[in-house]
Symmetry: D2
């Protein structure tokens, strides 16, 4: 169970959300509250959009709480749309290529959750990737694989919510065929440089936590309220996707998993 944060709004320094709040993501890396695994010390990453179409990414395999480069970067990089993620490895090993957020072309993605019995369906899922995306796979996580499968659908013309719904459905089908009793849980954020899509879904009744917050300078989603105080933070509805639009609107969409 990892912890993450996505922001969309006026350009602000990453540190304003990543390092400074009382219950900032950096602090959550050392001690999360609403999670079974309190320590998220198996790597971290930030991704941000600037003037270019593609996002910048900085990731490390070491804990976020002690990374000097992260502090310096977060204090000097300003963005209207950024992601931050701290990892508690559930599978895939500690490697840079397993750290979120993942990026390909203009997309950025991060995930908290797990494909139950992933080892039993991994080979089939990877086989579904077209060659181009198969060669872009760098790591061993279920998260990166889900991302590439979702991107494939988006590239083929589906909207992000439809793409996610389809992929979750296919994974679920494979899990059923492999008679995996463990659930599929998926709290995630996806960006294309303009909008942020946040997802909260699970095959059982325990989707990982995800909260939405609106400030006067922008809006954000996070695994846990950043101030410790849940006031002003609204839990995403299970089974729902929330879109933080570039124009400041927020829209909710159902995740329909066949």
């Amino acid at each position: 169970m990892c912890r993450f944060l996505a922001y969309r709004g006026d350009p602000i320094y990453l540190e304003d959300l990543v390092c400074r709040p009382k219950h900032s993501l950096v602090r959550q890396s050392l001690r999360a509250e609403e999670a079974k695994m309190v320590t998220n010390g198996d790597g971290f990453g930030v991704g941000w959009y600037g003037d270019r179409d593609t996002p910048g990414v900085y990731r490390q395999v070491t804990p976020a709480w002690s990374d000097e480069n992260l502090r310096a970067l977060a204090a000097h990089v300003r963005s209207h749309l950024f992601f931050a993620h701290v990892r508690a490895a559930t599978g895939g090993g500690i490697a840079l290529s397993n750290c979120h957020p993942f990026a390909t072309s203009t997309f950025l993605f991060m995930h908290n959750g797990q494909v139950g019995g992933f080892g039993l369906v991994r080979r089939q899922l990877e086989a579904q990737l077209p060659d181009t995306l198969w060669h872009q796979r760098r790591g061993a996580t279920d998260s990166e694989l889900l991302f590439l499968l979702i991107v494939e659908r988006i590239v083929n013309g589906f909207g992000p919510v439809e793409a996610v719904s389809q992929v979750l459905g296919e994974v679920r089908t494979l899990m059923r065929e492999a008679q995996i009793p463990d659930p599929l849980r998926f709290s995630a954020a996806l960006a294309d440089g303009d909008d942020v899509f946040a997802f909260r879904w699970a095959s059982d009744d325990r989707p990982p936590t995800l909260y939405h917050h609106r400030a006067d300078y922008g809006q954000m989603v996070a695994s846990e309220p950043l101030e410790g105080d849940p006031e002003g933070w609204t839990a995403l509805n299970p089974g729902a996707a929330l879109c933080l639009h570039a124009d400041g609107r927020t829209t909710e969409h159902p995740i329909n998993v066949a």
Copy 2:
């Protein structure tokens, strides 16, 4: 507050104590029990004696819980005397040179505790080192500095317990002169290749925990019982040093801080 373990007895694989027990040091790195800071993810180290007079040392700045090299090493290195340490940094930054155990010539040392207000006395303490030892200082921790100060006295003919008593007394004096209200706390282990000396002392009434355990194949000291079950683990007396002798005896000595 770090966690550590020292062993003296028949040659055993490091993994038998470092990785395998239910509450092994590797598990303590992710979640210690008897400590305010539950996570000890700011680096780790092992030190061991083999056929040579000097100890071998393996240290990393990354968490012990995910280190593949540690697992492999601990499964293939066997020793009659070894140390293992997981770190929760209280000062000095995350760097290899700040990871325990520290080694110089035939000595090995590791520490759990803190020199209160270290920044206010550090410069004077470093100034006390003779040139040779001053040049051996690699990091910025109070622990390494205490070690070098202790080694200086041992090299000059004092026994380990006397050397530690003297150094603690001098640090205490400097702390008083600098009007530092914080305590000096010192749980530590020191080895010379033959014997292990374990120390538990504090200037207040809260010396860091340290337990002694005797098995049929050897004896050990550790910050926390390795099996979760405290049965068969005896807390060291505050203010006492315990010597685990090469011949299997254990002797207790008072730490007399002037």
Copy 3:
């Protein structure tokens, strides 16, 4: 083009070959002589056999020339059969999982060379792995994949030289089908805890260098003579495998690639 070293003989400290010689592997990491790429700073690894059937392994993504842990380990680990490798990445990225030597069950393997146009045949080659070995793949190199394909054949009863010959033949066939003009080059060492098998083969006339040397305490193969002086070092015949037997004998075998 990487550099490597394999030793079989009386137990000696790793440092005697890895660190101490005038042209030791650690020095080759900073400046190799007989290679187009002089710097081998993209990670390194050592593997050794002790009392257990499986080998111990220590690998890092950082350069060998500056690794304190390597120096300490090499000075305190003694073995009758060990491998050492310094890497100049030609593909697969800088990651621990791409560092040699690779180990699985009782086998140890390292490689210098390249599957030309690997990206074009990688997916088919991975698809040939049975599930058990497919799940043991950790990295992205051609070397690790060749190793797993070879192990599969050995597990199925073929001898090491026959297994290597078969795998090279299959890779070559796939490369031809994909119309890859680049050569397949393979200098490698494989051990099972008893014997060391060294291979030197290429589909063109430029197999990577590999030398054999016999000392009074044991024998070794290396990409370059360790003393700078080629005296006493014999180049392996192209297309030949050399077996350094546990009993001190050396036998040569042809690599027959169909």
Copy 4:
């Protein structure tokens, strides 16, 4: 002997100079031309000024040539004044705290050269630092120590060229007293957010190389011409400081070492 680069001009992406040129700094890290030590793989760093007074810094102990984060950062961070440095360690060990550029308050500094016999004068030099700057020392290099000694003088009202001249004079005096026959060599760059000061000086006749280049979008100094072609690159005069002013002017100043 390290390699570095400093830029002042219109805001450009770091990659335009750090990664892209034919003989970019990243390529120099793998193979420098005008240096005895061709490999600069002992860490690297970039520092840049944005909207804030203090600079952002990203440093690593691993080689620049393979760092994914550096590539991403350099492609997404744009600045009117930035430094980049690749290190070949001559002393101080491989540690983040020994990587250039060094930063304190609004200052950024990097260095190529060496204080001959540094071990013999280090303790006296460190003793000259006032407490505040002594506590800011993180590493063990001569470079960081020179920087802090220079900053002390600037804080006390001296101009950068005067401050450097004084410090070089004092170091030289201590070296003479310690009867060190080795030279003091100093090619360096210092910035305060507005101007860049470049220095080329040595106590013998071999000051490390340093070149100045003026493009239509800005000017830069570098250890080696970035395009391989020295055309348009002018070697700094030995014993001279060059100031790249915020307004585009360049002025030269003598370094007067007493």
